[in-house]
Symmetry: C2
Subunit: 112 residues, 2 copies
């Protein structure tokens, strides 16, 4: 069993086209995870993840702050306590439109 505070994991810069985004890889294959990884994203006010798509799903939980999630269906507001499920192959983007840091967990399957 491994127990640690999220702040003990380094927050790494996410390269462009992300803007003002950092990520902590909280649980990975190195932790011993066999099936999926837990990451925490930190988006500064005005920052955003790329509008992009991929073959795997996201299971996200907004921990702090507020913003919008963009899809091909438009923009939807999110705030702390919201759950976001992005199916495989659906375009998506997280934008921090608030005045505080937007912090969320985002889990993905591990690549086999």
């Amino acid at each position: 069993m491994k127990i640690f505070h999220y702040t003990s994991i380094e927050a790494e810069d996410v390269p462009a086209p992300a803007e003002g985004v950092k990520v902590r890889w909280l649980i990975t294959e190195k932790t011993g995870a066999p099936n999926f990884a837990m990451r925490q994203f930190l988006v500064e006010p005005g920052g955003s993840t790329p509008f992009h798509t991929h073959s795997w799903e996201h299971e996200a939980f907004i921990l702090y702050g507020s913003g919008i999630v963009v899809s091909n269906e438009g923009e939807r507001p999110v705030k702390a306590g919201d759950v976001v499920f992005v199916p495989p192959d659906e375009e998506h983007q997280f934008r921090n439109t608030g005045e505080e840091e937007l912090k969320f967990l985002c889990l993905i399957p591990l690549q086999k």
Copy 2:
């Protein structure tokens, strides 16, 4: 894409031997998840999940409150912001030893 606040999902009683525990199944196969499920557990002060084991892992994130996690190695304190990785086949129990509700996310692989 699906976006909803966690409170929109009913918190169901977890039967004994759990004590004072409720669960919200936030993301499941019904949501469209292909690989893993997101649940939120609510443990009242003095409550606990069973000390038990199973063949799948837990990836947990403490959202609120404090308590202890029990394993064969003993008891360790946890608090909001802690990450808990329980490998497959390791005995574990979450106990709320605080005075407020203990609330955590706990993700598991879907059974195939």
